[in-house]
Symmetry: C2
Subunit: 365 residues, 2 copies
């Protein structure tokens, strides 16, 4: 698959090497990004938006966070300069397994080095340098985007004034690890995967679809599934008594699985899923307190009541560590029935919290 | 795969047809069963044990409910005549997709008709006739076994004195349906499945392993996973930074998935999983009250605190309907960290409740 770009898409090519957490390095890399609004003359109004596993740089202008980004919205583009970059390892233009290896002229595929959330953040920092922003007003994201926001505040404690982490965690729980590994196993055990060296005509569609279906279940809450689908049958009055689908929830998941295959690279899925499983602030810094001790950012930590993938207790663990460090932290639990997907589906509720928080940070600087 | 039988295994061959809930019929069928203890002269001490999705007739004598069945145990084989039969549709000797179709001399595979929990119960009733038991003292089971116990009390309201349903439900929630359908999709999308017509040398191992791994996650609680595995690495000090497994939970799930493949038939998995998705007492009887209104059994409904697959609220819904009908019902929530698997792993706790309940039923008859 070849990514489709919006008219706003820009390309940043970093011609120098990037040392990765694995100890390996990329000899060069590309980051795709979009910006909304203008950098002011003081260069103190830049906000970096970080996306989740399957998204891209197109957050505003009709993109995945359109209700949050735009004139008069929470991330008000009349006031702020909003940047969203595609994560390193993804398949929407930034360097990843589907990119061309400049040394061979062929796609990297699984010769691309494994990356971490920290590597994503390091790559973003080079983009921010390129955009001539020395200090970000805010780094904000949900899910894997929230991990990046937290990591920014740890790696670059003096380069951001605020950090907003939504529906995220300092480390995946064993259950979340388990769902991730089963999804990756589904891809890897697909005969088409071929150690990652599939071509465009024989991609591991079944494995990737299964991985996406598993993911989807974890993104929805039991409540939202019950409201939306219940046990309703799909275009039939009674069970079919065969091995085909009967229930709407089955058709929905199959549809989501197969739709995903046409827009996402299976190797990228493996890499980003693995990066999330490796994210563990306690492990990499011995403790949360140790990790956050140098941070100068104000924190807004938001969880979603019905999120069982990264439940509120994960957020509270981060908040408690920040409180113990006497850092400035605001915690809000968004009352939303949408489960983990609430960071995408409850943008109105998010706005109500982000707007005054951001105003406070901007006015106080 | 060919099932291995214990020395206690017996075979009941029913030479007449069985009309199925689908409207189709089996021209004949076989049920494999084991018995422990002796039927007394009054023939009033027979207990039927029903198993869950992946188990077999070998419940006692070192089998999967060994702590519950035996001399001096809750199902005391010095007093009771305990029967456990392999479910219709399974692959441990009872008729199912892996059985030989007598009309062709070949395995049925997916020409075997779809079956329901009610069909399993109807087949068991013929076995009970064969064993010369007109009324069972108890029908007891966990998970899919609990569904069979409930169904017994509905289909044969005067043929059992008590019904014990453990970690079960009157219908799968949309989330449980979703996990089931993804598992079935993993099997069906495995290139080896071949519409069910795989041979013994090219079975859909990857799909079945993925289905089992998904199942396993739902059988464990987050708490038990955290205690048992946490984020511990598997025989390494640091991440491998490759696409292989890093965490113990990953190795465990892979091991469970691949172990299952050697002992279970993929088509049987599809059939039993589908039967569970079809189980819906409200749908088949318009309401729970309508379903249970003729039942004469005493009920013991047991749920497990940490079971999120069939949570306590599912059991309470059944209990509330029975209470509204003024039926004799006891409800206990077993405090166990083992999740859904608690019906297998917390046998000591189950015994403490089942023993006095069973004594009461036996003494009062």
């Amino acid at each position: 698959m070849t990514p489709e770009y919006s008219p706003l898409t820009r390309f940043y090519h970093h011609c120098d090497s990037l040392l990765l957490d694995s100890g390996l390095q990329l000899s060069e890399f590309q980051i795709v990004y979009e910006t909304y609004g203008q950098l002011n003359s003081e260069k103190n109004n830049a906000i970096l938006v970080c996306h989740a596993l399957s998204a891209d740089a197109h957050a505003g202008d009709g993109g995945w966070w359109d209700q949050l980004i735009g004139p008069g919205k929470a991330l008000d583009t009349n006031v702020f300069f909003v940047i969203c970059s595609n994560a390193l390892g993804s398949c929407y233009g930034s360097s990843g397994p589907a990119s061309i290896n400049p040394e061979t002229g062929q796609r990297f595929k699984t010769s691309f080095p494994l990356i971490t959330v920290g590597d994503m953040v390091n790559a973003q920092a080079h983009l921010i340098d390129h955009l001539d922003v020395s200090q970000l007003l805010m780094v904000i994201g949900g899910s894997m985007g929230g991990m990046q926001a937290l990591e920014w505040s740890i790696r670059f404690p003096d380069r951001l004034l605020s950090c907003v982490s939504i529906a995220s965690t300092s480390k995946l729980s064993p259950q979340a690890l388990a769902f991730g590994t089963v999804g990756r196993n589904a891809i890897i055990s697909d005969a088409n995967w071929n150690e990652g060296h599939y071509d465009d005509h024989s991609i591991p569609v079944n494995g990737l679809a299964i991985a996406r279906m598993i993911g989807h279940i974890t993104y929805l809450s039991e409540e939202s599934m019950s409201i939306k689908f219940g046990r309703k049958l799909q275009e039939k009055e009674d069970y079919g008594y065969n091995l085909k689908t009967d229930f709407q929830i089955e058709s929905y998941l199959q549809y989501q699985g197969h739709k995903f295959v046409s827009r996402f690279d299976a190797n990228s899925y493996l890499y980003l899923s693995k990066a999330m499983s490796y994210f563990d602030i306690q492990k990499s810094h011995r403790s949360l307190e140790n990790a956050f001790k140098l941070s100068q950012a104000r924190y807004l930590i938001m969880s979603i009541t019905s999120d069982w993938l990264y439940p509120s207790k994960d957020s509270k663990e981060i908040v408690n560590a920040l409180v113990r460090l006497n850092k400035c932290v605001t915690f809000t639990e968004i009352d939303s029935p949408f489960g983990h997907d609430g960071f995408l589906l409850s943008q109105t509720e998010l706005s109500k919290v982000i707007t005054p928080f951001l105003k406070g940070v901007f006015d106080d600087q």
